[in-house]
Structures are given as structure tokens and as C-alpha cells.
């Protein structure tokens, strides 16, 4: 089960009725936030989430509209009593940016760990994943490069799902009942000189949940492959077709370009976000995108979905 909330959907500058683009993912009781421009701590509150549960902050890049809210968010996390560590991961340079901005957020009651992805992206090492998560709910987080005016990463959050537990098979193999739960969670267990492996009691892996997040980039083949098959793609649709040239020059995307990615990568649903302040009504961009990818939905502040495993 994965809670997904688009906390803000604006690009460049916040507007009174549009927070800057940021998304929240909650699973296993902890939260992952992607990007935190000015106001994200407020957007989170308005969307009904608790900052104290934020275990991981992923930064796409270091333009102010994606990171200026970091000191406030960290102070808000502290204010809600968190003492467990918070991981901040992003492109190369994350450490320098975080330490610069945190000159006004000293004395936090939790440890901050920084992880800088290599330029080509890659998988977030397991030790940086939220720690309170139980293993049946462990995620996989991968980063992939975009093409913007500065190094920029997209992210994919995957919640894999193991095979179904088969108690009849476990019983037939005389596996002690007290080990069932650990095997079900994917653990290999040695007991009384016998090694028990999860495949002894589990069926084939089942379909998990995959969400991808792409912003501040031109469309690229790398992105299409990175987001392929996602159940949900959250992607910038900063401009309408009338501003395609401006999108190209500023290294952003039109909603139609986002829809092309969604169609090529065969995702389930596309949420548009990161609207230009000059776009009063994202529904127009949505209409343009729907011509290419009908399962397009214009994102809005607080747009929310609870994604559940199949069956």
C-alpha cells in the first residue's frame, strides 16, 4: 500500500493558490518527500500529513523552487518531535547545498545523512531507506538523469511484492510454524542445522506498485525507459502547446511531451504538475495531453491516491 500525494504543482514561483511542486509517498508508516520548495511544510500540513514522519527527502536538483523550503521542512520535522535520522539524497552537490541552507537550521534533534547519486543515477543504497519500515514493505528507489539547465534527477519508487505464502506447502515440508512469518517476509532462516529459504513457501513474485516522478527536464529516451511500466507517472507539463518553444529553450516540457513519455513508456496514469505561473488553468494542458495519452489527469495541490496491491 502506497499513499501518494501531490502536495504542490507550481513551477518557478509559488502562487497564493498553488504551492511549489512537491510529492509525498507514505508506506510502512514513514514518508518520502520529493522536492521541497518554499512552502512545502505548509503544503504538507494542508494535505494532512505529519512532518515528523518524513524519513527521506529526495531532491531532483538545486533550483530554489525545488529546495528553498528545506530548512523550514527540517525545522518542522524537528518541531514534531522526530529523533530518528532523516536522509537527504540528490544529485552531486547535495551535501554542499544542504549545509549551506542549514546555516539557519542548526541544532536539529536528529541526524541528517546525505547521499549523492552518481551523475548517471542508480539505486539508493538500502541503508538509506526509511528504517521503520518492516521488510514486507521495503521499497526500491532509483534515480535517473534528466536534461535540464543543471544536473537533475528523476526518481522511481518501487514497492515490490513477494509471492503468496502457501501454508499447505510449509506444512508438507514440516517447516516449524514459528519460522513462517520470517520466511514470508523474504528472510532465509537457519534452525537446528536446517536452512529454510523463502522460495520453499512462497509462490512467484506478484505485481508490486511503481510510481515515477519526472520534472525540470526535456523528454529523453533515458526517461522513457526509466519510467517504463509505472502505475503512476508524475511528470511536469509546465507549458501548453502554445509555449512549446519556451519549453524547449528553458529545458522544460509541455503537457503533450509528458503525454508522449507516458504513452511510449506504457504507464498506467499520468499526473501533470510543475505548471508555469503563466498557466492559469491546467485543464487546457490536460486536454492537449489527453489527445496523446487519455489517462492523463491534471495534478492539483493535495491530489491524492492510495495505491494498493492487486487482488
Amino acid at each position: 500500500m502506497l499513499d501518494v500525494c501531490l502536495m504542490g504543482c507550481g513551477g518557478s514561483i509559488p502562487k497564493p493558490d498553488r504551492w511549489l511542486t512537491s510529492a509525498l509517498f507514505r508506506y510502512g508508516g514513514e514518508c518520502v518527500v520529493i522536492d521541497c520548495g518554499e512552502g512545502t511544510q505548509l503544503a504538507m500540513k494542508e494535505a494532512g500529513f505529519v512532518a515528523g514522519k518524513v524519513a527521506l527527502i529526495l531532491l531532483t536538483h538545486f533550483h530554489a523552487d525545488h529546495v528553498s523550503g528545506l530548512p523550514g521542512l527540517l525545522l518542522s520535522i524537528a518541531n514534531e518531535g522526530r529523533v530518528d535520522p532523516v536522509v537527504i539524497a540528490g544529485p552531486k552537490g547535495t551535501s554542499r547545498i544542504v549545509s549551506s541552507l542549514c546555516v539557519i537550521a542548526q541544532g536539529l534533534p536528529f541526524q541528517i545523512y546525505i547521499y549523492e547519486f552518481p551523475n548517471g543515477g542508480g539505486e539508493l543504497p538500502k541503508e538509506y531507506l526509511p528504517v521503520n519500515t518492516n521488510s514486507s514493505c521495503s521499497a526500491r528507489i532509483t534515480a535517473y538523469p534528466g536534461r535540464h539547465s543543471m544536473p537533475c534527477l528523476g526518481y522511481r519508487i518501487s514497492l515490490p511484492r513477494g509471492g503468496k505464502f502457501d501454508p499447505a506447502r510449509a506444512k508438507a515440508q514440516n517447516i516449524p510454524v514459528k519460522l513462517w512469518s520470517r520466511l514470508q517476509k523474504g528472510e532465509t532462516v537457519d534452525e537446528d542445522g536446517v536452512t529454510y529459504t523463502p522460495d520453499m513457501v512462497l509462490g512467484a513474485p506478484r505485481r508490486g506498485i511503481d510510481v515515477s516522478y519526472v520534472t525540470d527536464t526535456r523528454p529523453t529516451d533515458v526517461i522513457v525507459e526509466a519510467v517504463r511500466g509505472s502505475d503512476l507517472l508524475i511528470c511536469e507539463g509546465m507549458f501548453g502547446n502554445d509555449k512549446a518553444e519556451r519549453a524547449r529553450v528553458s529545458r522544460h516540457m509541455t503537457a503533450a511531451e509528458a503525454a508522449n513519455i507516458a504513452a511510449e513508456a506504457e504507464v498506467g496514469t499520468l499526473w501533470l504538475t510543475h505548471y508555469s505561473p503563466s498557466m492559469p488553468d491546467p485543464k487546457e494542458a490536460e486536454a492537449e495531453a489527453k489527445l496523446i495519452f487519455p489517462e492523463t489527469e491534471a495534478g492539483y495541490d493535495g491530489k491524492h491516491i492510495l495505491m494498493q496491491f492487486e487482488d
Copy 2:
């Protein structure tokens, strides 16, 4: 004429219905902003002011709730086309804080000048005052120290008013009419070997406008003297009487303590601000303050007054 707007009135953390404490002063076509926590650029927009007109930003101190919105505000100023310089003035360390925070606000189209007040405060040198202001509207800005958990300054903005121009006296002294305007603005003029001084045509100086701003400090005698006789005192009233001890320990003030300053310093009106997030209704604190200083008004986001010279 001085436009005064309390853009936000919250302390510590912004709330969905309360921006962080920040005040705007507009005179001579330019704006001075005191403090800019997260969201000030939005608070300014909501209050109907144009960020591009901000010529001077005064920082009281470097706690995040007073400065975290600086990069966003600067980008907003840039976004509105300003190319004239912006001055940022504050306590010692302002330069380091600004350069740290501006790691995410590079390439601004205007020059930033920093002025650090001495620990004891003092007057902002004239060359840092807003430049577009015509001389009949020149302000005097002074800083004075508070007593907080880090060095903190209060500010007084004074709009002095020269004596009334007396055309009959000017005529009687055969002063060329083309010089009248410059003399009226306080300029001394040499013309055809004769020196003309403003006192030749002006009456005694008249009452100006004085506004003082005090936050994040315990009450002190220094503050009472610094704000003495102000027409308006904007002062923190972070807590009600029930939290007087908390105010003392955190080096803040209750509304009643603010009222004591207002009464002792014989100011005109007191606006309360910088409410604790734990204070749902500032009207209660206002009532406590009114018992001491009846001309107390609870501040709120967007509270605004147009202060005009007498007569």
C-alpha cells in the same frame, strides 16, 4: 506618507492561516521589508505589494522564521524585473547568512549590497537607503539591540519633515524662483556667487512619522528608549500571561510586556505580532495588553495603515 503593512504575524513556524512575521514600509515609491521567513514573497503578493519595488531588506536576526524566505523573495524581486540594487542589512554575520542562503539564488539581475550593523546598533548609512526616493521623503533608519538567544536588532524608521516653505520670505529675499524647489527639499544652493540655505525659506521642522519594530527579545530599557515617541510600535506579543515563564525562558515577550514598553515609551499605537503557533486567538493577548496600554491592536496578516504627515 508612509504605507505600513504587517504581512505576517506568526512566530516559529508558518501556519496555513498565519504567515511568519514580516512588515513592509513603502515611501517615495520604494519598499523596505523587515524580516522574511518562509512565505514572505507570498504574503507580500496577498497584501497587494510588488516585490520588484523592494529596495531594502532589514533582518532582525538569523532564526529561520525571520530569514528562510530570503532566496525566494530575491528571486521574486528579480522575476518582477528589478535591476536596481537591493540592500540587505542586519546584525553581524548578515553577509555570511546571505551568501549561504543565496547558493540557490544565483545570477540575480541586480546587485546586492550588504550592511552589517555594529553590535550596539546605530544608523543605517545614507548610501544604503532606497535610492529612488526623492529627498523630500528621505528616511532615517536606526537599529538597536534586543536581548534574545542570538544577537538581534530592532528597527526604527523615521520620516522627518522639514519646515513649511514660505514663498513670501523667499520673494522678500529675492531668491530666484528656479531654486525654490531645491531649497524646499533641504538642499543648499550656490548660484551666481550667492549661497542660499534652506533655513532662509523654511519654517521650523514639523512632526514627522516614526514607526518602530521589535521582535524576538526580552523587554529592555534600551528598547524603551529606542522606540520612545513612535507613532506606531510593531512589537512581538508571542505569548499570553499564562505563558509568561515560557516567554522569559525562550527570550520572547508576552503581549502585556509589549504593552508595558508601549506605555513607558509613550508610543501612539501598538500592534502585536509574532504570535506563538500555540496561540489560536490573539484577541485574548490583545485584551491583556489593553489593560496596560489601551491603544493596543492585535496584528493580523495584511493589517495595513497609511500614515500621513499632520495637517
